[in-house]
């Protein structure tokens, strides 16, 4: 979908057709609206974060997900008890999608002790293992073997589940990803690699960073791994095609590589001064107008007659309020202290075990 990529969808993408897939056909109205609400929550959270970042409330990077919401939210809507997810640094949507609340996320951005990682992780490192969410990883491609490992654990313990492991179109060029693909194919791991192809890795378009044929996901073919492409702005398509991969993982314990066409409106990170230099304003506008995942889904629900304008406004208002409250929460939360620096380094030390008390673990002075 991105103008700079040679990729073309693998199938004719008639959304009404995907709507008829079992996984979509059986959706209740409330489920459909829930997906919308989640996407709106993500959008409003990112907007609030952006605003506070500009005010100097946060440090480091802030990678926003605006424009890509349907990918994480659509896919997460399919996950069950033994399904896990892990992603890169553009990780807020996945966090909110699995059910983390905005307070702990916003507080993390602020570096407050009430943050989901106690202020230790920041924007790139959200985690909630209890919700099967394994982060939030800053090193490009570094999470891809971890994703294989989550799937590996499920497999060797006979649990019917899978791991959705996200990466970007730039990340496909990290060697670790290929090693992970080979392991997944060789060992029959129930892992699904989701390439969120937003057309750019920082300021580099797909054509300038990757050599490929057909599409990036096609590299999976060399490992005899099934691959597919998804038009990411369409929730029905995202769900329909992802469900096939999940079924493959659950029933055959086989991996899949999925490439999802999507787009990010903001720069690579908020500090990306070139955000509008390596792509045209027109390109950005076009995506916002024609392919905005929230609009597309909202309008579909209007057409289906399951959503009213009022209900939408309500959803939007709730999301804005939740975001606003999270800013307040973050503003009012305390910072960690210097004493916190050497906590959460060693399990044995934190748990004050004999092992944690034996020998010196930290070496200042």
């Amino acid at each position: 979908m991105s103008t700079s990529a040679k990729t073309t969808p693998t199938t004719v993408t008639d959304p009404t057709e995907f709507a008829t897939y079992a996984i979509n056909a059986k959706m209740t109205t409330e489920e459909k609206i829930h997906i919308l609400a989640e996407m709106v929550r993500v959008r409003r959270f990112e907007e609030a974060a952006f605003e506070q970042y500009q005010k100097g409330k946060m440090g480091g990077f802030l990678h926003l997900y605006n424009g890509q919401e349907s990918v994480a939210i659509g896919q997460i809507s399919l996950l069950g008890q033994n399904d896990h997810i892990i992603t890169a640094y553009r990780d807020h949507a996945h966090a909110l999608g699995v059910g983390m609340n905005m307070n702990e996320c916003m507080a993390e951005l602020y570096g407050k002790i009430t943050g989901c990682s106690k202020g230790k992780g920041g924007s790139m490192h959200f985690f909630d293992p209890e919700k099967n969410y394994w982060g939030g990883h800053g090193i490009v491609g570094g999470q891809t073997p971890l994703g294989a490992g989550l799937a590996f654990h499920l497999k060797i313990n006979g649990q019917k589940g899978c791991c959705l492991c996200y990466l970007g179109d730039g990340a496909v060029n990290q060697g670790a990803f290929h090693e992970a693909l080979n392991l997944a194919g060789l060992m029959d791991l129930p892992v699904i690699y989701v390439i969120e192809n937003n057309g750019y890795s920082m300021g580099t378009s797909q054509v300038r960073s990757s050599a490929w044929k057909n599409c990036l996901a096609y590299r999976a073919d060399g490992y005899d791994i099934v691959w597919d492409m998804i038009n990411g702005w369409d929730i029905y398509e995202v769900r329909a095609k992802t469900q096939i991969a999940i079924d493959r993982a659950h029933n055959e314990s086989r991996p899949t590589v999925i490439e999802v066409s999507t787009y990010r409106y903001h720069g690579h990170s908020v500090a990306d001064a070139n955000a509008k230099k390596y792509r045209s304003e027109d390109e950005i506008k076009r995506f916002e107008c024609e392919f905005d995942p929230i609009k597309v889904w909202r309008d579909r629900l209007y057409t289906e007659g399951v959503l009213t304008e009022d209900r939408y406004k309500q959803i939007d208002k709730a999301a804005k309020e939740e975001a606003k409250a999270s800013v307040l929460f973050a503003d009012e939360s305390a910072y960690p202290t210097v004493e916190d620096i050497t906590k959460d380094v060693y399990w044995e030390v934190d748990n004050d075990t004999i092992a944690g008390r034996t020998g010196r673990h930290f070496f200042n002075d």
Binding site: K120, F127, G135, G149, L183, R360, D365
Partner: protein, 335 residues
């Protein structure tokens, strides 16, 4: 006491821990069907089968990362690096993911992995295959590193490493694999098994005139040197084996130095920022007034590992070199 090799000691530790906890699995290149490149895992695949002992492709970043990922859910992988030198192709997984995931998650995740394999020179395999990255690992908070010098320590430390809930990296030595050592039968042990806590140094030989402090195979070199020093020079050297580099037993080191007032660190590490530099700097800081001479160091000669067998032997610490160095700061009782 029963004597077994260092290799067998590690194997026993692995075998016992496979029995002890069904979450423990062994992974690595050639560890299963081939019995291990250095035969450490011999027989374990036959005994435990595919579900516990697994061969991996030559993808260290891939399979170590996979082990880290699985450990987050409770698997306890013990991963062999055929050589620790190959850690560098997986260094991001080893240094970033394993060491940081607990921290960056605010303590929500832990990573109970072991990475083990030989880290030593002295076998003429050239520069790329002879790295000793214990200083790199020990530099990295979140990681633990252990370097056993004897069969006894190898078994006891390995078992503790596997039970530890943090990433523990065990550096063995191909040169020591065949060395015999006293290792008690479990039946003869009060608790029925041999566990040596990480973070406890061991006085391998008592002495009064100088402390020879070392880790890994250099401990053996120090013991040889101590023997010569005693016999030929009447110098009583105490040999302190760190065993565990992080966590570190500073007290035992300092006690020894406070007694002998002189110390030399001996290691196969390269000198610049080697483990010795840390220990020396710690000693001078904490036992400044107890020192009668500067604390000296013997490290590998500062170049990539030389292939040529006789030359490489001279590149690494050897007993007469230690003796000579000791004589620069100790008065011999008889000359």
């Amino acid at each position: 006491m029963r004597q077994i090799t260092y290799r067998e000691a590690i194997r026993e530790a692995l075998d016992e821990e496979l029995a002890n906890d069904k979450n423990v699995i062994l992974m690595g290149e050639e560890v299963a069907q081939y019995n291990g490149a250095y035969k450490v895992t011999q027989g374990l695949w036959e005994k435990w089968g595919d579900s516990r002992v697994m061969d991996m492709p030559i993808s260290e970043a891939g399979f170590i990362g996979m082990g880290i990922g699985a450990s987050m859910l409770g698997t306890r992988p013990v991963m062999e690096l055929m050589f620790w030198s190959f850690a560098y192709v997986a260094f991001d997984q080893i240094i970033n993911n394993a060491a940081s995931v607990r921290y960056m998650s605010g303590g929500k995740i832990n990573c109970p992995i072991v990475i083990r394999g030989p880290a030593n020179g002295g076998t003429s395999v050239g520069a790329t295959h002879s790295h000793t990255p214990e200083n790199f690992i020990a530099n990295t908070p979140g990681l633990k590193v252990v370097c056993p010098a004897t069969a006894y320590d190898a078994k006891g430390l390995m078992k503790s490493a596997i039970r530890d809930n943090d990433p523990v990296y065990v550096m063995e030595s191909t040169v020591l694999y065949g060395e015999l050592g006293d290792v008690p039968d479990n039946a003869d042990l009060p608790n029925g098994e041999l566990l040596i806590p990480l973070g406890v140094a061991d006085i391998k030989r008592e002495g009064t005139d100088i402390s020879l402090i070392a880790h890994g195979r250099s401990v053996i070199v120090c013991l040889q040197a101590a023997e010569i020093l005693q016999n030929e020079h009447g110098i009583s050297a105490e040999v302190v084996d760190l065993r565990s580099i992080r966590p570190l037993d500073e007290e035992t080191i300092l006690e020894s130095v406070r007694k002998t007032n002189r110390a030399i660190y001996v290691e196969e590490n390269k000198p610049f920022c080697g483990v010795g530099s840390q220990i020396v700097s710690m000693i001078q800081e904490k036992a400044f007034d107890d020192l009668d001479a500067p604390v000296l160091r013997i490290s590998a000669i500062d170049a990539p590992a030389f292939y040529s067998p006789p030359v490489e032997k001279m590149q690494l610490p050897y007993a007469s070199q230690v003796v000579d160095k000791v004589l620069t700061i100790c008065e011999p009782a008889y000359a």
